[in-house]
C-alpha cells in the first residue's frame, strides 16, 4: 500500500444479510474528503457502514485504512468513529463519561481532551448531564464528540441528522460541514436526503438495492446521473418512455430534439430548469411547447407548478419569478426545456459506470503491481463496469447506456437542437 495515503480504500467488499446482498463495493475516500453514500431506505447504506466498521461479517473484499489492511481486525481495533442516527449515547453514563469511554477503553487518560472536544462542539456546559435530559441536536453533538475522542482514522456517520427537527438539522449541518472540512479525516456520510447529500458531500456514492450505482464528485453525479434510479434520487423527474428516431424522441405529445440516438429510451428532466416564456435566441433548448398552468403549490423554498402537458410536467421555480412571469392557472404559457436539463437513458439496458473519486488523484492511488494488495481483485475487476463516461463539453445530453461511445454527442448536435426545437413546439 502507498504509505502516504491516509484514506480509506474498499475493494470488492461484499456482505450478506438473509437474502440481501451488498456489493461488490469499491470505494476510495481520501483523507480530506467527505463521501456521501446516498440511497433510498433499505438500499444497504447502514449495512455498508457497519461492514466497514467491522460490526458485520463481510463475505469478501478488502478494506484498507490509513495504509493498513484492516479487513480482519475486530471493530475495536479499527479506529473508526461511528455516529448513529439516534446518537446511541450510553444512557447510564454522563455526557463526559460518554466521551471518555473510548479513550478509557483503549487505556488512555484524556480527560481534558474530552471536555475540550465538547466545548469545540458547543456542548461543553453539558458535561455532567445525563443523556436522557438532552435535546436531539445536543445528543448528536455529543455522539460526534464521542466518536472524535478516539482520534479516528475514519469517520462514519449514519444519517446523523434524520431524527432532528428542521432548524436543528440545518444548524448541525452547517456545523458538520465546517468541522469535517477542518478535521481532514476521511468521512463517509450516509443519508437518503438529497439536499443533505449535496450540501455535505465532496463525493457521492449512490447505492440502490445493495449495488453501488455511481460514484464521483457530487456535482458531476448530480448533473450526470448514470441510470434512472440515480437520476430519481438526485431530483430528476421522469418524463416517460419514448422511441428515438430521426434525432427526435417522442414522448406523449412532446418532441425532444436529441440527435444520434435510436431505439427505446427513458427521459428525465430537471424540474427547476423548466423555462417559461419564449426561449432566448442564445439559449439552446431541447424542446419548447405551450403548456397550460394547472396548479401552483406554494412550497418553500421553490414553488411547484403543475403543467397540463402530456406527459405531465412539474416545474420548480422561485416565488418571485411566478409573479414576474404572471403565471396564472388555466392560462397557456410558452415553456421550454433547456439543454442540460434533459437526461436520456437507453431503455432496457443499464450499465454501471463508475467515475473514480476525485479523479485527479485516483490514478496514483491504485498501484498496479503490489503483491500485498490482493492483486487478484485488482486484476479481475471487470473493466466494463469501471468505464467512466465523461460529458462532452457543452453537450446537451449524454447517452449513458447507449451502444456507441458517448463522445459522439458533439457540437453539431447542439446547433440542430436549437433549430429544431422551435418547429416542434406543442400547443396543449
Amino acid at each position: 500500500m502507498p504509505t502516504a495515503d491516509r484514506g480509506l480504500d474498499v475493494s470488492g467488499l461484499t456482505a450478506r444479510a438473509g437474502s440481501f446482498t451488498l456489493g461488490p463495493v469499491n470505494l476510495h475516500i481520501p483523507p480530506d474528503r467527505v463521501l456521501v453514500v446516498l440511497g433510498p431506505s433499505g438500499a444497504g447504506k447502514t449495512m455498508l457502514l457497519e461492514t466497514i466498521a467491522g460490526l458485520r461479517p463481510q463475505n469478501g473484499g478488502q478494506i484498507n485504512l490509513a495504509g493498513a489492511d484492516i479487513t480482519c481486525l475486530p471493530p475495536e481495533r479499527r479506529r473508526i468513529g461511528l455516529v448513529f442516527q439516534d446518537a446511541a449515547l450510553f444512557p447510564h453514563l454522563t455526557v463526559q463519561q460518554n466521551v471518555e469511554f473510548g479513550p478509557r477503553a483503549t487505556g488512555a487518560a484524556a480527560t481534558t481532551a474530552s471536555v475540550d472536544l465538547l466545548h469545540q462542539l458547543g456542548v461543553g456546559h453539558l458535561a455532567p448531564r445525563a443523556p436522557r435530559s438532552l435535546s436531539g441536536g445536543e445528543r448528536q453533538r455529543i455522539a460526534l464528540a464521542r466518536a472524535l475522542a478516539i482520534q479516528p482514522a475514519l469517520l462514519l456517520l449514519d444519517e446523523p441528522l434524520s431524527a432532528l427537527d428542521q432548524p436543528t438539522r440545518e444548524d448541525l449541518r452547517t456545523l458538520l460541514r465546517r468541522l469535517l472540512a477542518e478535521l481532514k479525516i476521511p468521512t463517509a456520510y450516509v443519508t437518503h436526503d438529497r439536499d443533505e447529500a449535496l450540501s455535505i458531500g465532496d463525493d457521492l456514492a449512490v447505492i440502490v438495492r445493495g449495488q453501488l450505482r455511481q460514484t464521483g464528485p457530487a456535482a458531476t453525479v448530480s448533473a450526470q446521473p448514470a441510470d434512472p434510479d440515480v437520476a430519481r434520487l438526485l431530483g430528476w423527474s421522469e418524463l416517460g418512455y419514448g422511441t428515438a428516431a430521426n434525432d427526435t424522441i417522442r414522448i406523449g405529445n412532446l418532441a425532444l430534439r436529441v440527435p444520434a440516438i435510436t431505439g427505446p429510451v427513458q427521459a428525465f428532466y430537471r424540474p427547476e430548469d423548466i423555462q417559461f416564456g419564449p426561449p432566448g435566441h442564445d439559449e439552446p433548448v431541447s424542446a419548447s411547447f405551450m403548456a397550460r398552468v394547472e396548479q401552483i403549490v406554494h412550497t418553500r423554498p421553490l414553488a411547484r407548478i403543475t403543467l397540463g402537458t402530456n406527459p405531465p410536467i412539474t416545474a420548480l421555480m422561485l416565488h418571485r419569478d411566478i409573479g414576474q412571469l404572471q403565471l396564472t392557472i388555466g392560462e397557456p404559457t410558452p415553456a421550454s426545456l433547456r439543454e442540460g436539463s434533459l437526461r436520456i437513458f437507453q431503455a432496457g439496458e443499464i450499465r454501471l459506470p463508475t467515475q473514480p473519486l476525485s479523479m485527479q488523484k485516483a490514478s496514483r492511488r491504485l498501484p498496479p503491481a503490489d503483491p500485498t494488495n490482493s492483486p487478484s481483485q485488482l486484476v479481475n475487476r471487470p473493466t466494463g463496469t469501471e468505464t467512466s463516461v465523461t460529458n462532452p463539453p457543452g453537450g446537451s445530453y449524454r447517452l449513458v447506456a447507449g451502444p456507441r461511445p458517448a463522445s459522439s454527442a458533439s457540437g453539431k448536435g447542439i446547433e440542430s437542437t436549437a433549430k429544431f426545437s422551435r418547429k416542434n413546439s406543442l400547443g396543449l
Binding site: 457497519e50 471493530p75 475495536e76 444512557p91 447510564h92 477503553a105 478516539i150
Partner: protein
C-alpha cells in the same frame, strides 16, 4: 417489575376534575382510561374476587395463630433450623442461578444463531415439568448411583439428603426465572449501544462489563429475586431429592402430618413472614437505590 410504578393517585390528569358518571364500582377515571359502565362493573367484580382469593387465605392463616403459639413455634429448634435452611439454600440457589444464567441469557438475547428456539425451549422446560417429576429425575442423576451422583460421591459430595441436594432441586425448578429475566433485560438494550462501544475501542468483555451488564442489571437482579422467591417456596422437588435436612416447607408438611393443622399453621406463618420480609427487602434493593449505586460503581 418496573421500579417506579407510578401510583395511580399521582397520575391524575385534567380529566379528574370532570364530572364522572359514577357507577356502583366507583370507577373514577384515573389517569384517563379505566373502564366505565357495565364493562367496568364486571371488570372490577372479577378483579376483586381474584384479589380476595389471594388475600383471604393469608389473612385466615394469620388469624389462626396466636402470638403465644408463634413464640412457641419460633422457639422450636426444628422449625428454626428448617427456616434458616430454606433461606440459606434459596440465597445460594439465587447466586448460582445468576452466575450461570447470565451468560446463557446473554447468548439468547444476542439471537441470530441457529437453534436459539431449541435452547429457549430447554430453558423453559423446568416450568412445565411437574416438580415431583423433576425431583425424581434429579434423584436418578444425582443419587448415589446416578451419572453425576456416583462420581460426586467418590469425591465426598452427596446430593441425596444434603444441602447440595436442596440447592440442586431448587435450582432446577427456578433457574428459568433467572435466565428469562436477564434475557429480557439484555434484549431491551439498543444493540447500537454495544456496537458504538466496540467501535470506540472496547473489547467484547469490556463492552459486556461496562455497557450490557449495567444496562441489563435490573433484569439480572430481578431474576435473582424471583429465583430466591421461587426457591423458598419449593416443596415437590426438594422433598424427593433431599427430604433431610428439612427445609421449611418440608418441615411444615411434617408437622401437618404428625401434629395436625394448628401446629403446622404456626410454622407456616413464620415461614410466610420470613419469606415475605426477605422478598420485599430484596425486591426493593434490586429495583431501587442499590441498583443506582451499583450502576454508578460500574461506570
Amino acid at each position: 417489575m418496573p421500579p417506579k410504578m407510578a401510583r395511580p393517585g399521582r397520575l391524575r390528569g385534567r380529566h379528574n376534575d370532570e364530572v364522572i358518571t359514577a357507577d356502583s364500582a366507583g370507577s373514577a377515571r384515573r389517569g384517563g382510561g379505566w373502564p366505565a359502565g357495565w364493562f367496568g362493573v364486571v371488570t372490577w367484580l372479577l378483579s376483586g374476587l381474584l384479589l380476595a382469593f389471594i388475600v383471604l387465605p393469608i389473612i385466615r392463616l394469620f388469624t389462626t395463630s396466636s402470638v403465644a403459639s408463634l413464640h412457641q413455634a419460633a422457639d422450636t429448634a426444628a422449625i428454626r433450623d428448617a427456616t434458616l435452611m430454606s433461606l440459606q439454600a434459596a440465597a445460594i440457589t439465587a447466586g448460582i442461578a445468576t452466575v450461570f444464567g447470565v451468560p446463557l441469557a446473554y447468548l439468547l438475547a444476542q439471537g441470530g444463531f441457529r437453534g436459539r428456539e431449541v435452547i429457549q425451549a430447554v430453558v423453559d422446560l423446568p416450568l412445565v415439568v411437574p416438580h415431583t417429576v423433576a425431583g425424581i429425575a434429579l434423584l436418578f442423576l444425582l443419587g448415589r448411583t446416578g451419572w453425576v451422583g456416583a462420581p460426586a460421591g467418590h469425591l465426598g459430595v452427596s446430593f441425596y439428603g444434603s444441602q447440595w441436594g436442596i440447592v440442586a432441586a431448587m435450582l432446577f425448578v427456578s433457574v428459568p426465572f433467572a435466565v428469562n429475566s436477564a434475557r429480557v433485560g439484555f434484549e431491551a438494550i439498543d444493540p447500537r449501544l454495544e456496537r458504538a462501544a466496540r467501535s470506540l475501542g472496547a473489547t467484547p468483555w469490556h463492552t459486556f462489563r461496562r455497557i450490557t451488564l449495567p444496562l441489563g442489571l435490573r433484569g439480572v437482579l430481578t431474576g435473582a429475586v424471583l429465583v430466591y422467591a421461587r426457591s423458598i417456596s419449593e416443596f415437590g422437588a426438594v422433598v424427593i431429592l433431599a427430604y433431610y435436612p428439612a427445609t421449611a416447607p418440608v418441615e411444615i408438611y411434617n408437622l401437618y402430618l404428625q401434629s395436625g393443622l394448628t401446629q403446622a399453621a404456626s410454622a407456616a406463618v413464620i415461614l410466610l413472614i420470613v419469606a415475605l420480609a426477605t422478598f420485599l427487602v430484596l425486591r426493593t434493593l434490586a429495583s431501587g437505590r442499590l441498583l443506582i449505586r451499583v450502576e454508578r460503581a460500574y461506570s
